[in-house]
């Protein structure tokens, strides 16, 4: 694929991610923060998000497996997860966390377990989409092109 085609593919893919609610405007804010002096900013933040999220999901799974569930701990983890997903623009994950916190407050075990499944599902989905997006960006740059951010505002 030549650069022009890859750039068009990038624009289409990014638009679809916004349209389908995987990502929201906050992700665009991160893209705006990337420039020639920090060309890997988005990839770095995304990578941190993956590490952080996987740790949080492991912690959540552990806490919810206990005989006596410590809802304060669950809430603290979900709060963190809501924060990072919100900061990165991972909209579905963020919304799942909001619902999750409500069940925590009610100390509803069933609800919490369902939320954990949902948030895991949505996290892995957005993870694979972000990985694909970043791979595409890296291919464009490797081929000597630039990421056409300005195309997104149309």
């Amino acid at each position: 694929m030549e650069v022009g085609q890859m750039q068009r593919a990038w624009v289409e893919y990014t638009r679809s991610l916004f349209r389908e609610g995987f990502l929201d405007a906050q992700f665009q804010q991160l893209q705006l923060l990337q420039d020639e002096s920090n060309p890997d900013f988005v990839a770095e933040v995304v990578s941190l998000f993956f590490e952080d999220s996987e740790r949080l999901l492991a912690d959540l799974t552990f806490v919810l497996e206990q005989q006596n569930i410590d809802f304060k701990k669950v809430d603290a983890h979900v709060h963190q997860f809501k924060g990072s997903s919100s900061s990165i623009g991972a909209q579905r994950v963020k919304n799942d966390c909001i619902a999750f916190r409500n069940f925590c407050e009610e100390q509803n075990i069933e609800g919490c377990l369902r939320c954990l499944q949902q948030v895991k599902q949505d996290y892995y989905l957005v993870k694979s989409k972000l990985e694909a997006l970043i791979r595409l960006e890296q291919q464009i740059v490797a081929a000597g092109g630039s990421i056409p951010m300005e195309e997104l505002s149309s």
Partner: protein, 162 residues
């Protein structure tokens, strides 16, 4: 005494250390620290991050048992998250405002939750501003207005473009 693994500073490259405003960003969330750092580096500030209130106080020389001898420490703005383990952003704000050496530093509190009583509490506690997360590029521009020019050295005509 400063443990460099507890907080990290961006390198000052082109500019003289004294010219760039210095922002201290306190947040327990790694992603948020990274984003705040970038927001301010883009606005040509030096950024130091701390992961909680205790580390922030240590950095400022205000921790229990410390003597505030950081005469050469210049911090022009402190941004702190509200919800942090151990010490909230509000508690950190109070400690800073109680300090004779640090109380003049503008403090901005950020939070992901829009709770009026919390906002009032922080504003009454001496916060310059209370912003909602997630922070955006436009917030960095707003925040630059709060940056206090360093008192020492007399930097007449210092760059302060928005």
């Amino acid at each position: 005494m400063a443990n460099t693994s507890s907080f990290s500073s961006s390198p000052s490259t082109k500019f003289n250390f004294d010219e760039k405003p210095h922002v201290l960003a306190v947040d327990d969330n790694l992603i948020d620290r990274k984003v705040i750092e970038r927001l301010f580096i883009n606005s040509t500030c030096k950024v130091t991050t701390a992961e909680n209130g205790k580390r922030a106080l240590e950095y400022l020389g205000l921790a229990d048992g410390q003597h505030p001898n950081h005469n050469d420490l210049k911090v022009n703005l402190i941004i702190t998250d509200y919800s942090m383990p151990g010490m909230t952003g509000y508690e950190l704000l109070k400690r800073i405002k109680e300090s004779p050496t640090m109380k003049e530093i503008p403090v901005v509190v950020v939070s992901s939750e829009n709770i009026p009583t919390r906002i009032n509490q922080c504003m009454e506690g001496g916060a310059q501003e209370f912003l909602l997360k997630p922070l955006q590029l436009s917030d960095a521009t707003k925040l630059r207005c709060h940056i206090k020019k360093p008192l020492q050295g007399g930097f007449a005509g210092e760059d302060d473009h928005a």
